[in-house]
Subunit: 158 residues, 3 copies
């Protein structure tokens, strides 16, 4: 493995299907021996949150309710239909033995994929490090993300 | 052309405008002599489907109705307005002599752009190879996509 | 700085949060001394429009009303709620001293980030160069964008 052959994935979307795509690509990259990092920003942070209610200010708490984190709580980007889409999607995934999101995330971490939360997003959305799952790196900014991306062969914005 | 100067485009979106952007970039890249591949996953597969109803199980058939494929059937990501957006978009495109999607796709294929369907998406959505248009490669996974991407100068996630 | 270490960002989205992410990454890249270019296409063009009504034909004017440009007029991709999302988002950003979009754009330009409008999108949406803010380059196509991208270390599609 060359040092400049890694994979960086910026996850801005909090949609179930896009988060799934992100983890699938990350797992494939890590399995191929590539240095792999995922940078979670804005809605993407939901995918690495524990799922408790967050926020301290009025706005922060409103955001915490409307945009509650937790990888099992997010729905697909299309055909959500007030939860029906998520349920249908999960049924189809189960019928076809597709790995659930939480397991995909665990596999990614086991393979050494680095999960980086975006500092600015955490501040704006009033999410603290203890609201994130175990094993996530400390908050970092665009500069750090770009340094990693500069050693990557592909950087995806999802 | 260098061997590591290709272009890889992952098409996850099934929105008309994003699919159009994807094909336009692919055509530009192929015309510039770059090895160009498009990997269609999730909703993006609609852009390489023939357009018949798909699916065998209850869920698969529901998905096939709600998410029917065919490149002339998809609408733009914004301002869809129950089909009005697609109609308006097509009118403006016609007025300005913009190439329709189906022709863009043909041009891309004529220029040697490889169209790769994502195996996992086909399984989950119960889409068979015969539901896809002629000239599409066989189903492939993330590993194959990454191998191609590793020889690319830019990999886009659309 | 190497000549092939730039950053190219294709901005197709006209959503406030995605445009903000795009400018934040562009600023980070330019601040790190990287050649940075942003290519605005489709809805993304709103982010470099002055904000006046555009379009000459019936369709062009309809598009100009429904999709009016101007960086302070765009809303977030999730939780828009008929403007509430944008207002709430701006309140949270203000409370946390996050730089407004118009200032981010100015900072990017001051740091030498090149803003390129997509020619085809301008034609389809009937947007003229004088509808765009000062300092934007002339309209260009996919070929020019790819040339710049070929000298970039990462090309993002946002």
């Amino acid at each position: 493995m060359e040092n400049n052959n890694g994979t960086t994935i910026i996850v801005m979307s909090g949609d179930m299907d896009k988060v799934m795509a992100a983890f699938n690509i990350a797992i494939g990259a890590a399995a191929a021996g590539k240095d792999t990092a995922m940078f979670f920003t804005f809605w993407g942070i939901k995918a690495i949150q524990k799922g408790n209610y967050t926020g301290k200010s009025l706005f922060g708490r409103m955001m915490g309710v409307m945009n509650r984190g937790g990888i099992d709580r997010i729905g697909p980007s299309s055909f959500n239909f007030w939860g029906l889409g998520r349920w249908m999607f999960k049924q189809m995934m189960k019928a076809h033995h597709i790995t659930p999101l939480a397991e995909l995330r665990k596999t990614a971490m086991d393979l050494g994929v680095k999960l980086l939360p975006c500092q600015m997003s955490m501040e704006v959305m009033e999410i603290r490090q203890e609201d994130l799952i175990e094993g996530v790196e400390g908050p970092c900014g665009v500069a750090t993300m770009l340094e990693i991306s500069d050693r990557s062969r592909q950087t995806l914005f999802i």
